[in-house]
C-alpha cells in the first residue's frame, strides 16, 4: 500500500480519536487509559503477521514474545477496565 494512503488514514484517525476522547468525562479518565492499553494490544496482529515469516530462532522467539506481551495488555487492560467500571454506579441523585 502506498505510504501516502496510510498517512491519510493516520490523519483521519487523529481527528476521530481527538473528537471521541474529548467527550469522555474526566471521572472516567482512568478507565479510558486502561481501555486504551487494552486496544493498543492490537499490535498483536503485527506480532501474528511476523509469525508467518521464519528467519531463524531469534525471529520466531521475538514474534512469540511480542504476541505474549500484547496478549497480557489486551486481557489485562480489558479486565481491569471492567473492574473499574463496575465500581461506577449509576447516579441516583443527579
Amino acid at each position: 500500500m502506498d505510504i501516502w494512503y496510510l498517512l491519510n488514514i493516520l490523519m483521519l484517525a487523529c481527528f476521530v480519536g481527538y473528537f471521541s476522547i474529548k467527550e469522555v468525562t474526566p471521572a472516567l479518565h482512568s478507565p479510558l487509559m486502561s481501555v486504551s492499553n487494552a486496544i493498543s494490544g492490537i499490535v498483536i496482529l503485527g506480532a501474528l503477521i511476523t509469525l508467518k515469516s521464519d528467519f531463524g530462532v531469534v525471529d520466531t522467539l521475538c514474534s512469540y514474545l511480542a504476541c505474549f506481551f500484547a496478549a497480557v495488555n489486551i486481557f489485562g487492560g480489558f479486565a481491569v477496565s471492567q473492574r473499574m467500571l463496575e465500581m461506577f454506579k449509576t447516579g441516583k441523585r443527579k
Partner: protein, 451 residues
C-alpha cells in the same frame, strides 16, 4: 474468500474499538463500551489467526492464552490503590511488544525501514520509561526528581547518537546496529523519566500511554496494516490529549516536566514573622460539620496513600443522613497519581459519582460552603498560584477552598507540598490543621458524629 473474511473482520474490529472509546463518554454506557471493545478485539485476533493459514495453531493460541492468564490474574489481583502501577506496566508492555515486532521485522528483511526504526525507538523509550514510572509509583523513595549534572546535555547527545545509528542502519543494514539502537532507546527512556517528580507522574502516565499508541502506529505503517494505524492513532491521540489536559492543569509544559522538578522556590521565607497554624481536633471538626449546611471534601494523593476513601464515604453518609448536610466532593484534574485517580478510589468506596465534581463545575460553590475538608491535598489548593507571580506554581488553576467559611486540612505534618511551596492557607485564621493519618482522623470524626 479468506481475504474477504479477514478484511471485513478488521473493519468491524476497528469500528468496535472506536465505538468502545466513544461509549466511555458516560458511566451509563461505559461498561457496554468495554464489552464492545472486547468483541472487536476478539474478531481481530480470530481474523489474524485465520489469515496466517498455519498448519499448526496450537502454539500461537497457547501463547495468547498464557498472556491472557497473566493479564487477567494481574487485573483481578491488583489493589485499587495500585492501579497507577498497573497502568504503567501495561504501557510498558505495549512498548516492549513493539520492540520485539520491530526486531522480528528486521530479521525477516522487511522494506519499511524508517517506520520500523521508529517503532523500535518509541517502543524502547516507552518500555524503559514505564518501568521507571512504575518504580516511582511503587517505591516512595524513588519518587523524587532524580537528576545529575549536565543531564540535558547527555540526553541531547544520546538522541544525536540514536539518530546517527538510525541513519547508519538505513544505509548499512547491520542487524547489530539495530540491537544497539534498541538498547540506546531504552537508556533514553530511563534518562527521560528519572528527573520527573512524584506529583507530575499523572502527566507521564498519560504521555507513556500515548507513546505506546504511537509505537503501534509505527508498527502499522511498517506492516502496512490500516487497523493497527487506526487503533494506534486513537490510543496515541487519547494519551496525548490527557497529557495535554494534565499539563494545562499544572500550568506547565511537557518539556518542563520532563526536564524535571520545579524551579527552585524563592527561599526568602519571611523568617521575621513566625507563622502559627491553628491546630484542630477531630472533635472540633465533627462539631463544625454537624452544624454546617454545606461541606465540600477535597481529596488528594494523601487520601490514596492512607486508603481513606472508605472512611470518607462513611463520614459523608453520616453527615447526610443524620444531620442533613449537603456533602460534595471536589476533584482537581491532577490530584493523585494518574488521570481520574481520585474518581476511581471514590467509586471503589461506593461514592455516587453524581456527588463528585470537577474543578470548573464546583469552584464557584466554595464561597457559600461552611466547611471545606481537604484531605491529603496541598498544592492544588494553594492561593499563591493566584496571588504570587513569583511562585513556581503561579498560574496553576486551584480549588478555591480559601473561600469556604472554615477549612480543615488533614495532613501528616506542616510540610510544604511536592512543589516545596509554602501554603499560606495553613496559617489563615479560618484554617485548622488536623495532623495525623488521613484514614484515622476521618474515622475519629465519624465516631464523634455518631456519638
Amino acid at each position: 474468500m479468506i481475504n474477504f473474511f479477514v478484511n471485513t473482520s478488521y473493519l468491524i474490529a476497528s469500528t468496535c474499538m472506536i465505538l468502545a472509546i466513544k461509549m466511555l463518554a458516560t458511566p451509563q454506557t461505559a461498561r457496554r463500551g468495554n464489552l464492545v471493545g472486547i468483541m472487536g478485539m476478539f474478531w481481530a485476533i480470530v481474523a489474524a489467526l485465520v489469515s496466517l493459514k498455519l498448519d499448526n495453531y496450537w502454539l500461537p493460541i497457547a501463547v495468547i492464552l498464557s498472556g491472557a492468564v497473566v493479564g487477567v490474574f494481574m487485573a483481578l489481583r491488583v489493589q485499587i490503590t495500585a492501579l497507577p502501577q498497573m497502568i504503567a506496566i501495561l504501557n510498558g508492555l505495549g512498548g516492549l511488544a513493539a520492540v520485539f515486532i520491530a526486531i522480528s521485522e528486521v530479521l525477516s528483511k522487511s522494506q519499511n525501514d524508517v517506520s520500523n526504526i521508529m517503532s523500535l525507538i518509541i517502543g524502547g523509550i516507552t518500555f524503559s520509561g514505564s518501568i521507571i514510572a512504575f518504580g516511582k509509583l511503587n517505591f516512595p523513595r524513588w519518587s523524587k526528581s532524580i537528576s545529575f549534572a549536565h543531564q540535558n546535555l547527555v540526553n541531547l547527545l544520546l538522541s544525536l547518537v540514536v539518530l546517527g545509528f538510525a541513519f547508519g542502519y538505513v544505509l548499512q543494514d547491520h542487524v547489530e546496529a539495530f540491537y544497539a539502537l534498541a538498547l540506546m532507546a531504552m537508556v533514553m527512556g530511563i534518562l527521560l523519566i528519572l528527573p520527573v517528580g512524584g506529583a507530575d507522574i499523572p502527566v507521564i502516565i498519560a504521555f507513556l500511554n500515548a507513546c505506546s499508541g504511537w509505537a503501534g502506529v509505527c508498527v502499522g505503517l511498517s506492516l502496512q496494516s490500516p487497523v493497527l494505524i487506526v487503533i494506534g492513532t486513537i490510543v496515541g491521540t487519547g494519551g496525548s490529549f490527557l497529557a495535554y489536559t494534565m499539563t494545562r492543569a499544572l500550568n506547565r509544559s511537557l518539556l518542563n516536566i520532563l526536564i524535571g522538578g520545579m524551579a527552585a522556590p524563592n527561599s526568602a521565607k519571611n523568617a521575621d514573622e513566625p507563622k502559627i497554624a491553628n491546630v484542630g481536633s477531630p472533635a472540633d471538626a465533627a462539631f463544625l460539620m454537624e452544624n454546617a449546611g454545606k461541606i465540600i471534601i477535597v481529596p488528594g494523593f494523601g487520601m490514596a496513600a492512607a486508603h481513606a476513601q472508605h472512611a470518607l464515604k462513611n463520614m459523608a453518609d453520616v453527615l447526610r443522613n443524620k444531620y442533613q448536610v449537603d456533602v460534595k466532593f471536589a476533584i482537581h484534574p491532577v490530584a493523585g497519581r494518574m488521570p481520574g485517580h481520585m474518581n476511581v478510589l471514590l467509586a471503589e468506596a461506593n461514592v455516587d459519582y453524581g456527588d463528585v465534581f470537577e474543578l470548573d463545575d464546583i469552584n464557584g460553590e466554595f464561597q457559600d460552603t461552611d466547611v471545606a475538608y481537604v484531605i491529603g491535598a496541598n498544592d492544588i489548593t494553594n492561593p499563591q498560584a493566584k496571588t504570587n507571580p513569583n511562585s513556581p506554581i503561579y498560574g496553576m488553576p486551584i480549588l478555591d477552598v480559601a473561600k469556604a467559611k472554615t477549612v480543615f486540612f488533614v495532613k501528616r505534618s506542616l510540610g510544604t507540598g511536592y512543589s516545596n511551596v509554602e501554603n499560606p492557607l495553613f496559617f489563615a485564621s479560618n484554617t485548622f490543621m488536623l495532623y495525623g493519618d488521613a484514614a484515622h482522623i476521618t474515622e475519629e470524626i465519624v465516631k464523634y458524629l455518631e456519638a
